[in-house]
Symmetry: C2
Subunit: 209 residues, 2 copies
């Protein structure tokens, strides 16, 4: 009956949260994620490295995956790169792809990302979180392409979703398997052939002559 009243009059008592511990956990998680040579990162290891009890980790995050993703996005937010509109699709696309490739070459980010994907494969909750993460990136690229199409640099019927997936498909495929390079030269070739393959129908008709 009076519970609501009691809560209203007593918004908080007891010891406050320790923000230092919160940061220490994120830092330790990112560090271990980066150090990891493919070995899964354990919650025990994170807690120990952060000098924190395991229960403190689970008080703030619902699962191991949530901690790891939080650690990575915390870092990704630091090097957010927005892609200015250069006015030409080819240059916009080259810049976008090049930046994406570069960001993943950073050794810390790279090995963290690889480990994270591995964890996502066995943790449905983390997989869902990562889906949302990648969807955001896809949307950004899709917008860039839509701008180009409005300027007439792509055919009206061009399948923008497919182009997006060709970019991220190549990226993840090479990133995870590591059988081919992800350097600026590849970024340029990829951007150029995508533009060339999806340009105006009129131009295609001429070419097919």
């Amino acid at each position: 009956m009076n519970e609501t009243d009691a809560q209203a009059t007593r918004p908080h008592t007891g010891r406050r949260r320790n923000e230092a511990a919160h940061r220490a956990i994120l830092d330790a998680a990112l560090h271990l994620l980066a150090e990891s040579d493919g070995t899964p990162v354990t919650i025990d290891a994170i807690a120990r490295a952060a000098g924190v009890g395991k229960q403190t980790v689970y008080r703030w995050w619902p699962s191991k995956g949530a901690v790891l993703l939080d650690a990575l996005t915390d870092r990704a937010d630091q090097d957010v790169t927005d892609h200015p509109d250069t006015g030409a699709l080819r240059t916009d696309l080259r810049a976008f792809i090049g930046t994406t490739f570069d960001a993943a070459q950073q050794s810390t980010t790279a090995s963290a990302l690889r480990t994270l994907v591995r964890e996502a494969a066995r943790d449905p909750h983390l997989a869902e979180l990562m889906q949302a993460f990648t969807a955001t990136r896809r949307d950004a690229l899709h917008d860039l392409l839509a701008r180009g199409r409005e300027r007439g640099e792509l055919a009206d019927h061009a399948d923008l979703d497919l182009i997006v997936d060709q970019v991220y498909g190549v990226f993840w495929y090479r990133f995870l398997l590591g059988h081919g390079p992800l350097d600026p030269a590849v970024a340029e070739r990829l951007a150029d052939t995508l533009v060339a393959g999806n340009d105006q129908p009129g131009a295609q008709a001429v070419r097919r002559r």
Copy 2:
């Protein structure tokens, strides 16, 4: 000293291998792989479904991953599709991509393949085996493209490896994330834009006119 002689004179004694058990294990593995709703397939479950002791599984395969991959390739060998040379790159490529997409839409194969990838993420040995598996597929596609380039349907400087990775990149990216279709229409569009984006420099010059 005489060990070699002893082995030569006594090539085998004792109870023979039970081929029925061998098949039962592969069948059970494939079945569970296909049934699995993302839950990892356990060796215990395979052994129990095959009516076999766990040790019997480990006598023939070095790890869980090896059993699973063997089960899948055993099936994949059944629907081996060789891609005849139609004489035109566009049609060859359309057929190759279409077949690849189709094969993965088979619900049994699809869920087995998905589970297998998930397992590979945590099992380095299986990951290595799958690398070899995918490399074979990449080579086949690369050959197909090389034939087209020799006929002058692709630019001399076209990056065949990049084209291959665009195909398999899109495939795996959509297959695993499931955010976009992998139907015949997509296969055709992908084939067409790849050919258009990597054709003869002369044609490109005309187009850019």
